[in-house]
C-alpha cells in the first residue's frame, strides 16, 4: 500500500491492516513521520516531535508477542501539550513550562501505551487551554489545513489540524468550554467531549478542574469510540473519575428511528453565519430522514452560560495556576537580587502570556472576599439551574443538537483584539461542560468558501454509547470525509 493511502487510514484500518500483514509497523510509522516532517512546518501544529522518542516506543512494541491483544497496536496518537508525558516535554503552550518534562505519564497516556499506541508528539494549543483560536500559544498560532490564513479553532487547535491534515489518525485534546469540539468543527474532524469524569484527569494540567475533560479527535466516529474505550474508565488517582459499565456499540440505522431529538432554539438564531445555518438545517433533514423526531426546544439558561463559564473556569484557573511560581519547576526570573515576592511576580509576569494573565486576574477577583457571593457563588447557583434544565430536557429528548460553532473558521488575527466576540463564539459548546454531559462535534457540511461546518450532538450524562451510535449512523449516511479533504 502506498504511503498516501496509509496516511488516510483510520486507526481501526491501521490496526486491522497490521494484523492481516497488509503492511508492516515500520511502514505505518515511516509514513506518518515523513508526512509530519513535510506538512508540520506549514501548520505549526506540533510543539514537540522526535523521531528518536518514536523509535524507542516502536522498538518496545516490536518485542510484544501478541499484537492482536492490543486494541490500538501501532496507531500513532498525537497528544495535546497539556497532558503529561514522561518522555516528552509538557509545556501547555506556555513559556512558563518551556522544556519541562514531567516525572510521570498521565493516566490516559499509560492507557494508550498499554493499548499499543505510539505517542507521536505533542500538539500546539492555546496557552493553558485558554482560547478559541490557538492564537494564544507561546509557540505561535496553528494554521487551519483548509485555509492556512485561518485559525484551526482552540484550544486543541494543533490536535484538530494534525488529524485533519492526516499527520495522525488520532489525537487527544482537552475540552473545558468547547476546546475539542470547536476546533474539530473548524477542521472538519470528529471531536468527542466525554461525560465529566468518564476519562481520568490525572496528568492533565488543570485549567478549570470542574469542567476539564480529555477526549479523542479523529476522522471517524468509529475511531473516536475505539479511543474512548481505551482511555475511559475509573482511575483511583482521580477522585472525580466515574465508574462506568460496558460500552459496546451496536450499529444499526434502526437505532435512530423514533428517537426524539431537540434542537436548541437559542443556538440557531441570528448569531450564526448563513453557511452554518444552512448546513445545520440540512443535518436536521437528514436526521428526520433517518426516522428521528426532531423539534425545537428552548434552553433559556444557555444565554448565561458564557457568564457562568468565565467565572467558574477563571476562578478555578486562578487557583490551579498558582503552582507555577518559579520555585520547583518551570520558568524562574533570573535576577539574583530579587526578594521572594519579586521572584513570584517576575517569574509569573515573564512566564505567562496575556490571555492567561487576564483570566488569572478575572478569577482572582471573582473569588475575592466581598465578591465571592456576587460572582463565583452566583455562577455556581446558575450552573445548578442549568444542570437541572438540561436534565429536564433529557427527560423528553434523547439528544440535543446545535451547530458546534456559530461560524466557520475565522481569519488569524480577526478576533484577537476583541476578546468578548471570541468568548461569545463558544456559546454552543459551553453548556455541555457546565452540565457535565457528553457531546460530540461531527462534520455536517461545507461553506461556500470550502470551510468545514460541525454538528454538535449532546447526550444525557454517561450516555456516550448512544451518542456515538447516533453520530456514527449520521456519519455513514453523509459520507462527509469521503467527499472532502484539505489540500495540504
Amino acid at each position: 500500500m502506498s504511503s498516501t493511502k496509509i496516511s488516510s487510514l483510520s486507526a481501526k484500518a491501521i490496526v486491522s491492516g497490521l494484523a492481516s500483514r497488509s503492511f508492516a509497523l515500520d511502514d505505518v510509522i515511516a509514513t506518518f513521520v515523513e508526512r509530519t516532517k513535510k506538512v508540520c512546518p506549514a501548520l505549526n501544529s506540533h510543539v514537540f516531535f522526535s523521531e528518536e522518542v518514536i523509535s524507542k516506543q516502536v522498538d518496545a512494541l516490536k518485542k510484544t508477542s501478541n499484537p492482536e491483544s492490543y486494541p490500538l497496536f501501532g496507531v500513532p496518537v498525537l497528544v495535546k501539550d497539556n497532558i503529561c508525558t514522561m518522555d516528552m516535554p509538557t509545556t501547555c503552550g506556555s513559556k512558563i513550562l518551556a522544556g519541562y518534562v514531567p516525572q510521570y505519564d498521565a493516566t490516559v497516556i499509560s492507557r494508550l501505551r498499554n493499548a499499543g499506541a505510539v505517542i507521536f508528539g505533542k500538539t500546539n494549543q492555546d496557552e493553558f487551554a485558554m482560547g478559541s483560536s490557538n492564537e494564544n500559544s507561546a509557540y505561535g498560532p496553528v494554521k487551519n489545513p483548509w485555509d492556512l490564513e485561518r485559525v484551526p479553532g482552540g484550544s486543541s487547535g494543533g490536535s484538530a489540524a494534525a488529524v485533519a491534515a492526516e499527520l495522525v489518525p488520532v489525537a487527544l485534546g482537552s475540552d473545558t468550554g468547547g476546546s475539542i469540539r470547536q476546533p474539530a468543527s473548524f477542521c472538519g474532524v470528529v471531536g468527542l467531549k466525554p461525560t465529566y469524569g468518564a476519562v481520568s484527569r490525572y496528568g492533565l494540567v488543570a485549567y478549570g478542574s470542574s469542567l476539564d475533560c480529555i477526549g479523542p479527535i479523529t476522522r471517524s466516529v468509529e475511531d473516536a469510540a475505539m479511543v474512548f474505550d481505551v482511555i475511559s474508565g475509573h482511575d483511583p488517582k482521580d477522585a472525580t473519575s466515574l465508574h462506568s459499565g460496558s460500552r459496546e456499540i451496536p450499529n444499526s440505522e434502526a437505532m435512530v428511528s423514533k428517537k426524539r431529538i431537540g434542537v436548541i432554539s437559542e443556538l440557531i438564531g441570528t448569531g450564526n453565519d448563513l453557511d452554518t445555518t444552512h448546513s445545520f438545517k440540512e443535518a436536521v433533514l437528514e436526521l428526520k430522514a433517518l426516522g428521528a423526531v426532531v423539534e425545537e426546544v428552548s434552553l433559556p439558561e444557555i444565554e448565561y452560560s458564557i457568564a457562568m463559564y468565565y467565572l467558574i473556569a477563571t476562578a478555578e484557573a486562578s487557583s490551579n495556576l498558582a503552582r507555577f511560581d518559579g520555585i520547583r519547576f518551570g520558568h524562574r526570573s533570573s535576577d539574583p537580587t530579587q526578594s521572594l515576592k519579586e521572584l513570584y511576580l517576575n517569574s509569573r509576569s515573564e512566564g505567562f502570556g496575556k490571555e492567561v494573565k487576564q483570566r488569572i486576574m478575572l478569577g482572582t477577583f471573582a473569588l475575592s472576599s466581598g465578591y465571592y457571593d456576587a460572582y463565583y457563588g452566583k455562577a455556581l447557583n446558575a450552573r445548578e439551574q442549568l444542570k437541572s434544565a438540561v436534565k429536564r430536557l433529557f427527560s423528553q429528548y434523547d439528544f440535543l443538537i446545535s451547530p458546534t460553532s456559530p461560524t466557520t473558521a475565522f481569519k488569524i488575527g480577526e478576533k484577537i483584539a476583541d476578546p468578548l466576540s471570541m468568548y461569545l463564539s463558544d456559546i454552543g459548546t459551553i453548556a455541555a461542560n457546565l452540565a457535565g454531559i457528553p457531546a460530540i462535534s461531527i462534520p455536517c457540511g461545507m461553506s461556500e468558501s470550502r470551510l468545514p461546518i460541525g454538528l454538535q450532538i449532546m447526550a444525557p450524562w454517561n450516555q456516550e454509547t448512544s451518542l456515538l451510535q447516533l453520530a456514527g449512523i449520521y456519519e455513514k449516511k453523509l459520507k462527509w470525509s469521503e467527499r472532502y479533504k484539505p489540500n495540504v
Binding site: R201, G203, S319, S368
Partner: protein, 483 residues
Amino acid sequence: MSDLLQQFDLVIGLEVHCQLDTQSKLFCGCSTSFGGEPNAHTCPVCLGLPGALPVVNKKVLDSAIALALAVGADIRQRSVFARKQYFYPDLPKGYQISQFDLPFCEKGGITLTSGKFIELTRIHIEEDAGKNVHGDKNSFVDLNRAGIPLLEIVSTPQLESAEEASDFLRRLHSIVRFLEISNANMEEGSFRCDANVSLKRKGATKLGTRCEIKNLNSFRNIERAIHYEAVRQADIIVQGGTIIQQTMLFDANSGSTRPMRSKEESHDYRYFPDPDLPVLFINEERIEKTRKSLPELPAQLEKRFIEQFELPAVDAAQLTSDRDLAKYFESSTKFLKKGTPKLAANWILSELAREVNDRSWTYMNCPVSAQSIAQLVNAIGEGTISGKIAKTVFKSMVETGKDPETIIKEEGLVQISDKSAIRTLVERIVNENPAQVAEFLSGKEKIIGFFVGRIMKESGGKMNPAAVNAVLLSTLNSKKVGS
C-alpha cells in the same frame, strides 16, 4: 504583674494542629514518617506537580470521627474540602487543601479540671505544608511534611487564664493519645498550638483586639507566652495605647513574644470548594463502627479511678493524662495484695515517673514492670520492708530489672519486725548511752531521735521503724518507773 492584670479579664482561644498517625499522607500514598532525607517522602501529588490530583486517604476520616466522638462534636453528614490560597515556597500548589464553611464537625468540647466546660468551634481536616530550610546563601524547601494529615481543633474563646489554656491543651493532648490517632509529639511538631489572646476590662462585654501567638511547642511555654502577652497588652492599654491585631512569635529563650507579621497585611485566602475533591459524605454506619471501637477516654477513666481505687482527684488526673501511664497503673493494681492503689499511684507518679522521664523510657517498655511495682508496694504494705528500704530496692529494680522479691532476698533487706530482736538491740543501745537516757528522763523527749538513728544505723535500716519506736519508748519509760 498580677496587679496590672487584675483590672482585666483574659480571653483566650486556642487553635491546635494535630498531625495524624496514618501510614500515608492525606491525599497521596507517601509515607508520613518523621525525618528522612529532604524530599524523600514525596510524589507528584504532594509536590504539587502539574496535572497531579488529590485523593482522600479514608483512614484519616476514621481518626477524625474518633476525635469528634471523643469530644462530643456534631459530625457533618456532608463536609467540603476547600482551597486556602496563598503563595509560599513550602506550599507547593499555591493553596492548602483545608475545610472552610462546611468543616468536618462542629461543637463538642472539653471539661477542664475545675469542671468548666470549654466548647469547641470546629474540627476540620487539612494538609500540612512543607518546610523552608535556610542556608547561608540559599534557601531550600523540604516537602516531606507536605500533605501529612492534620486535624485543626479550634476552641471558643472561653479560656480565662494561662493555666486554663494549658489544662485544656493537656486534656486534648491526652485524648488524642488515648485514641491513638496521633503521637502528639510537641517537640517534633506533631501537636502544635496557636493562642489568640485578648483583654477586656473587668466586667466589660466588648472583646478587645486579639493577638495570635504562633507555634507554642510545650505546655509550659503556652503558659509563659500567654502570661507575657497578657501583661504586654495590659501595659499598652493602661498607658492609653491601642492593641494592634498581629501575629506574635514566642521566644522560649527570652520568654517574650514579638510581632511576626501584621494581620492587616494578611492575605485574602480566597477560599473556594476544591473541584478536585467530591463532597465528603460520612454515614451513620461509619460513625457507629468507630464509636464501637472507641477506647475508654481520659475523663471516664479519671472518674472510674477515683471511684474504684479511691484515689485523690489529683492523682487520678495525673494518671489519666497519658494512656500508657493509665494502663500501667491499672495493670499494677491487679497484683496488689496488702498494698493500696493509692500507695501504688504514689510510687508510679513520683519515683517511677522520674526514671521514665530521665531515661526516656515509655511505660510500656520500662524494665520495671507493673507487677514489680505492685510487689514493691505489697512488701511495704506487709511490713516486709520500710519505705526507706523500698527506695533502695526500687533503685536496684531500675538498674537490674530484677523483681523486688528477688532483690530483697538477695540483698537481705527483709525488715526486722521480730520484737525480741528489736528489744535486744534497743536495750543494748539504751545501756550504752546513759547520758542521753538521763536527758530523756529530764524531759527532753526529742532525744528519742538520737536513739532511733543509732538503732537504724546498727540494723542497717532494716528494723521496722514503728516497732522500734514502740519498743524504745517502753524501754525508756520503764527506766522512769524503775528509778
